[in-house]
C-alpha cells in the first residue's frame, strides 16, 4: 500500500470508527469499548509503519495527497508527513489507545457519545498536524473545539460548565483573530504574486512589509499562545484540566497543547520571519516567565491535577524557548520536548485519574505513603515524576537539555553581537529546572511517602489494564530518553528548514512597483 493511502487511512480511521460506534445498538457498551480500542490500536500500528517508512534524508512532504477542493479560493485538500509533524502524529496515535483504555472504567455515562467524541477529537488533531493547507488546517483546528467542549461539559467535574465555556470562548476568540489574519495573508499573497492559494508552501513565499508581518504575527501568536498556553493567556488551562474527565485531561495535555507550539513552529514564525526576529526578546521573555511562573504556581497547589496543569505551562515554556532560540539543537530540542511532555503529562494525568477513581478526591493533603500501599502504582509514578523533572535517560532530559543548549547558543550568538539579554534569559530558564525538581519532588514526597493514608481506603493496586497503559508510556519515555536518535534524525531536516525560513529576511524587495504584477492583471 502506498504511504499516501496509508496516511489517509490513518487519518480517516477515526471517522469510520465514529460511524461504527454510532451503529452499535444501545446497551452494548462493552462492544463500543472494544471497537474503539481495536480501531485505535490499528491506527497506531499503521502510523508505526508510516514512521518506519519515513525517509529522514528526503526534505519536504512524504506520503502526501493533493487534490483541488474549493477552486474559487485556491483551497486545496493537501495532507502529508514531514519532519515537523511525524513525531506528533505518532504521539497522537500512540495516546489514542491509552486514552481509550484509560476511560474504560471511568466513563459509564453515555458511553457511545463519549467514544464518538474521542474519535472525532483524534480525527481533528491528526488532521491539524498533517494539513498542508492553511484552510484545511484552520478547519481541523476549529473542529477540535466541538468535541472538547462536549467532553469537558458532559463528563467533567462539578464546575464543568464554567470550565468548558471558558475553554471554548478563550480558544475561539484566539482562533477567530487568526482567521482575520489568514484572510489578510491570502489576500496579500494574491496581491503581490498573483497566486490565490492557502497552501503552506505558497504562503511561505509571501513577501510582506514589516508592519504587516507584525500585525499578522500578533494575530497568529495570540491564537497559538492561548492554546500553548503561554502566560498571560493561561488562565483557562487549570480550570479545563481540573474539570475535564481524565481522558479529556490526557488529550488536552498530551496533544492539544502541542497544537499551539506546532502552530508557532509550522506557521507563526516561518510565515512572518522578520517580525519574529524582532519579537524574539519578547517571546523568549514570555517563555521564561511561563517556565518560572508555571513552576512557582505548581509549587503551591493543593490539587494534584492543578500541579500537573501548571507544570504543563512550565514545560511548554521550554518548547517556546527552544523555538525562538533559532538554534538547530534548540529547535530539535523543542520538538522532542513537545513529544516528551505529551507522554509524561499524559501519563501523570492517567495516574491521577486512576487514583481518583479509587479515592474520589484530588486533595494532595488527603494522600500519603502510597509507596507502601500501592507499590506498583508508586513505581510508575516515580518514573514519570523523574521524567517530568528531566532526569537523564528519560525523554524529559533530552528535550530540556537540548532546549537549554539552544538557548545558551543563542545567548552566546547574541552576546557576540553586543547584546547579552538572551544570555540572561537562558540563565533564568535554568532556574526552571531547579523549580521543576522542587515541585515534582514535593508532590512525590507528600504523595508517596510519609504517613500512610488514603481516603475511602483500603484501595487495590493497579490492575492489568492500568499497568499495561502505564508500561507503554514508560517504555516510550525511556525510548525517547535513551535512543533519541531515531526521532531526531527524522526531524532534523525540518528543523533546518525552519531555521532557514525564520532567519532569512522576507520583506518585499522593492516597494511593490512595476516589477510585480498588478493585482488586476494577475487575476
Amino acid at each position: 500500500m502506498a504511504d499516501s493511502t496509508l496516511l489517509s487511512l490513518v487519518l480517516y480511521l477515526p471517522v469510520a470508527g465514529m460511524f461504527a460506534v454510532a451503529a452499535v445498538p444501545a446497551g452494548r457498551e462493552g462492544a463500543v469499548r472494544a471497537l474503539t480500542l481495536g480501531a485505535m490500536l490499528l491506527q497506531f500500528a499503521l502510523s508505526l509503519v508510516l514512521y518506519a517508512h519515513f525517509d529522514p534524508a528526503v526534505p519536504g512532504l512524504q506520503a502526501a495527497t493533493h487534490a483541488p477542493w474549493i477552486p474559487a479560493w485556491g483551497v486545496t485538500y493537501s495532507i502529508g508527513l514531514d519532519g515537523y509533524n511525524i513525531l506528533l502524529v505518532l504521539l497522537t496515535t500512540f495516546l489514542g489507545p491509552l486514552v481509550t483504555a484509560g476511560a474504560f472504567s471511568a466513563i459509564t455515562k453515555d458511553v457511545k457519545l463519549f467514544y464518538a467524541m474521542v474519535f472525532l477529537i483524534q480525527f481533528a488533531m491528526l488532521g491539524t498536524f498533517v494539513a498542508q493547507d492553511l484552510f484545511l488546517f484552520y478547519l481541523f483546528w476549529e473542529t477540535m473545539l466541538i468535541p472538547m467542549f462536549l467532553m469537558i461539559g458532559i463528563w467533567g467535574g462539578e464546575r464543568r460548565i464554567y470550565a468548558t465555556i471558558k475553554f471554548f470562548l478563550y480558544t475561539a476568540f484566539g482562533s477567530i483573530l487568526m482567521l482575520a489574519a489568514v484572510i489578510y495573508l491570502v489576500y496579500s499573497l494574491w496581491a503581490t504574486t498573483g497566486i490565490t492559494s492557502f497552501a503552506f508552501a505558497d504562503l511561505y513565499k509571501a513577501r510582506l512589509p514589516l508592519e504587516a508581518q507584525q500585525w499578522l504575527l500578533a494575530a497568529f501568536a495570540l491564537s497559538f499562545a492561548i492554546k500553548v498556553p503561554m502566560v498571560p493567556f493561561h488562565t483557562w488551562l487549570p480550570d479545563a484540566h481540573v474539570e475535564a474527565p481524565t481522558a479529556g485531561s490526557v488529550i488536552l495535555a498530551g496533544v492539544l497543547l502541542k497544537m499551539g507550539t506546532y502552530g508557532f513552529l509550522k506557521l507563526g514564525f516561518p510565515l512572518f520571519p522578520d517580525a519574529t526576529r524582532l519579537a524574539v526578546p519578547l517571546l523568549s521573555t514570555l517563555a521564561v516567565v511561563s517556565i518560572v511562573y508555571g513552576a512557582c504556581l505548581a509549587l503551591v497547589q493543593e490539587d494534584i491535577k492543578k500541579i500537573i496543569a501548571y507544570s504543563s505551562i512550565s514545560h511548554l515554556g521550554y518548547v517556546m524557548l527552544g523555538l525562538v532560540s533559532l538554534d538547530l539543537l534548540g529547535i530539535q530540542g523543542a520538538i522532542v520536548q513537545m513529544v516528551s511532555h505529551g507522554l509524561v503529562a499524559a501519563g501523570l494525568f492517567l495516574m491521577v485519574g486512576m487514583i481518583y477513581e479509587r479515592c474520589h478526591t484530588r486533595e494532595l493533603a488527603a494522600y500519603g505513603g502510597l509507596a507502601k500501599l500501592l507499590p506498583v502504582y508508586s513505581v510508575f509514578f516515580l518514573i514519570l515524576t523523574l521524567a517530568s523533572v528531566g532526569l537523564p535517560t528519560t525523554s524529559g532530559f533530552t528535550g530540556e537539555f537540548l532546549v537549554l543548549m539552544g538557548a545558551f547558543a543563542a545567548g552566546w550568538r547574541d552576546s557576540a553581537g553586543g547584546s547579552s539579554y538572551a544570555l540572561w534569559v537562558a540563565a533564568a530558564a535554568v532556574s526552571g529546572v531547579v523549580l521543576g525538581a522542587l515541585y515534582m519532588l514535593r508532590f512525590a514526597q507528600r504523595f508517596l511517602f510519609g504517613a500512610e493514608r488514603v481516603p475511602h481506603g483500603p484501595v487495590g493496586d493497579l490492575n492489568l489494564r492500568e499497568g499495561a497503559i502505564l508500561a507503554a508510556i514508560v517504555a516510550a519515555v525511556f525510548w525517547l530518553g535513551l535512543f533519541p536518535d531515531s526521532a531526531m534524525k527524522r526531524t532534523e531536516l525540518a528543523a533546518r528548514e525552519y531555521q532557514e525560513l525564520v532567519s532569512a529576511p522576507r520583506q518585499p524587495v522593492t516597494k511593490l512597483t512595476g516589477t510585480l504584477p498588478a493585482p488586476e492583471a494577475a487575476r
Binding site: 474549493i70 461539559g153 477567530i176 482575520a180
Partner: protein
C-alpha cells in the same frame, strides 16, 4: 409600443410564475370542495405546486438573460437559482409546519394559498427588472405575510405582532416608494437597466439620486431587519405561530437578497460609493446589536430573531464589497442561512406537541437524552449559525468576510470576527442545555416520518456543504457573473 402583441415566446420566461398563480387559484378553489378530513390532499397539492414550479424555474433558461413584458421582467441565471431555492424553502417550511398547523386548526386552504401567493411574490421580486415590479412583488409578499401572522386569531401575541409588522412594513414601503420616486426624478425611468445607464450620464441629477438612495436603503434595511430598522423582527418572530415565523424567516430572505441586488447592485451600481458606506454602518450596528442582545434572550424564537439580525449584517458585508465576488459570497451566505434557519425552526416544530410550544431555550434541556440524533441535528445547526467549522456557516461567513476585506474593509472584518465570538456564546448555551443538563422528562420525540427524514437531510446538508462547498459556490459565482 402601439399594439399589444403577446406571443408565447414573450410569456415563456415567466412560465413558473404563471404556473404558480394558476395553481394557487386552483388550490383556493379546490379547498372549497374538500371537507375537514381531506385537508391533507390540499396540503400535498400545495407542496406539489411548489415543487412543480421549482422544476419549471430550474429547467427554463439557459445561461442568458431574457427580459420580457416590456422590460418589466427578467429571467437570468441568478433569478433561476434564487427562485428554485425560495420555492424549495417554502415547500420545506410547509412540510415542517404541517403537524403544528393541523394541531392548531390552521392547516386550511387560506394558509396554504397565502403561502403560495407569498412564494409568487418572492418570484416576482427575484425576477424584477423594473422598480414597479419590484415594489409590487414586495407588497404581494408582505401582504401575505401580514395575513399569515394574523391568521392565528386566538393569540393576542400574534395579533399584536401582525399589527406591528403591518404598520412598520407599511412605513418601510412608504420610504421605498418615496426613494424610488426620487430616483425616477433623477433618472427619468423606473426600468432598472435604464436607471443604471442614465445614472452616470449627463441627464441625471446626482444629489437627487443620492437623496432617493437614502430612502431606498432605509426601506431595504427595514425589510432585511438591519439595525436600526430591526424593531419588528423580534416581536414578529416571537409572536407569530412557529410555522409562520419559519416562513418569514427563511424563503423571504432569498427574495430580500434579490431585491437588494436588483436595486443596489444592478440599478444603483453607479452610486456604489454612497450606499457602501450606508451598508457598512447598517452592518456594524446589526452584527453588534444582534449578537449582544441575543445573549440575554430566554426564548429561542426571539434569540433566533436577534441571530437573524446579526446574520443580515453579515449578508450586508458581502453586498457592500460591491464586487462580483462579494455578491456571489452574499448569495452563498443567504442560501446557506436559509438552510440553517429551516433546520433550526424545524427542530422547534418537531419538539412542539399539544399544549407545548418548545420555543423556550429551557425546552431543549437534556435533548440528548431524549433523542441522540435530533440533539446532534440541533448541535450542527447551532454551530453552523455560530460559524464554527466544519458546518457551512463558517464558510459562508468566511466568504463574505474575505470579500469585504478585498474591498478594503479590513476594520469591519476584524470587528465582525470578534462579534461572532460573542455570538458563539448563546449558541453554546443551547448546546450546553441539550447535552450537559438533565431533561425535565424523558418524553420521546414525535413528528411525522416525512418531517423527521427531511430535517435529517437538512442537517446533513448543512454539514456536507461545509465540507464540499465547491459546487454551490461555483453556482453562485457563475449566476452572479452571468447576471450582472
Amino acid at each position: 409600443m402601439n399594439t399589444a402583441t403577446f406571443s408565447l415566446a414573450m410569456l415563456a420566461p415567466a412560465f413558473p410564475e404563471i404556473a404558480l398563480l394558476a395553481l394557487a387559484c386552483v388550490l383556493l378553489l379546490a379547498d372549497l370542495f374538500v371537507s375537514g378530513r381531506d385537508r391533507h390532499a390540499v396540503f400535498w397539492l400545495a407542496i406539489a405546486s411548489l415543487l412543480a414550479c421549482a422544476t419549471l424555474a430550474g429547467a427554463i433558461t439557459g445561461n442568458a438573460s431574457a427580459v420580457t413584458f416590456h422590460g418589466m421582467f427578467v429571467a437570468d441565471p441568478m433569478s433561476q437559482v434564487l427562485k428554485v431555492a425560495a420555492l424549495l424553502a417554502a415547500a420545506v417550511t410547509l412540510v415542517y409546519g404541517r403537524t403544528w398547523l393541523e394541531r392548531h386548526g390552521m392547516l386550511s386552504g387560506e394558509f396554504l394559498s397565502l403561502s403560495l401567493f407569498a412564494s409568487l411574490g418572492m418570484m416576482v421580486m427575484i425576477s424584477a427588472h423594473h422598480f414597479l415590479t419590484l415594489y409590487l412583488g414586495l407588497e404581494l409578499l408582505a401582504l401575505c405575510l401580514y395575513a399569515m401572522v394574523a391568521l392565528e386569531r386566538d393569540s393576542v401575541r400574534a395579533t399584536e405582532a401582525a399589527m406591528k409588522y403591518f404598520v412598520l412594513g407599511a412605513l418601510a414601503s412608504g420610504m421605498l416608494l418615496y426613494g424610488m420616486s426620487m430616483l425616477y426624478g433623477a433618472t427619468g425611468s423606473l426600468d432598472i437597466a435604464r436607471v443604471a445607464a442614465s445614472l452616470g450620464g449627463a441627464g441625471s441629477s446626482a444629489s437627487l439620486a443620492a437623496f432617493g438612495l437614502v430612502f431606498v436603503v432605509a426601506g431595504i434595511a427595514f425589510k432585511l431587519g438591519a439595525v436600526p430598522f430591526h424593531m419588528w423582527i423580534p416581536d414578529v418572530y416571537q409572536g407569530a405561530a412557529t410555522p409562520t415565523t419559519l416562513f418569514i424567516g427563511a424563503a423571504p430572505k432569498i427574495a430580500a437578497f434579490a431585491f437588494v441586488m436588483r436595486l443596489l447592485a444592478q440599478a444603483l451600481g453607479g452610486l456604489g460609493a454612497d450606499w457602501q458606506q450606508m451598508l457598512a454602518i447598517l452592518a456594524v450596528a446589526s452584527i453588534g446589536l444582534g449578537n449582544v442582545v441575543a445573549i440575554a434572550q430566554t426564548n429561542l424564537k426571539r434569540m433566533l430573531a436577534y441571530s437573524a439580525i446579526s446574520h443580515m449584517g453579515f449578508l450586508l458585508l458581502g453586498i457592500l464589497a460591491g464586487t462580483d465576488n462579494g455578491y456571489a459570497s452574499a448569495m452563498f451566505y443567504v442560501l446557506t442561512y436559509v438552510l440553517m434557519t429551516l433546520a433550526a425552526f424545524g427542530m422547534i416544530l418537531l419538539l412542539a406537541r399539544a399544549g407545548f410550544e418548545a420555543e423556550e431555550l429551557e425546552d431543549f434541556r437534556g435533548l440528548n437524552r431524549r433523542s441522540r440524533w435530533f440533539a446532534f441535528v440541533m448541535l450542527v445547526v447551532a454551530f453552523s449559525l455560530a460559524g464554527i467549522p466544519p458546518a457551512v456557516g463558517f464558510l459562508a461567513k468566511l466568504a463574505v468576510l474575505q470579500a469585504a476585506f478585498e474591498a478594503g474593509y479590513g476594520w469591519l472584518v476584524v470587528y465582525a470576527v470578534v462579534m461572532s465570538v460573542v455570538g458563539a456564546f448563546y449558541y453554546l448555551r443551547l448546546v450546553k442545555l441539550m447535552y450537559m443538563d438533565e431533561p425535565a422528562g424523558e418524553l420521546a420525540i414525535g413528528g411525522r416520518a416525512d418531517m423527521r427524514l427531511l430535517l435529517s437531510v437538512n442537517a446533513v446538508a448543512v454539514l456536507a456543504l461545509g465540507i464540499v462547498p465547491g459546487p454551490l459556490m461555483d453556482l453562485c459565482a457563475r449566476a452572479v457573473t452571468a447576471s450582472l
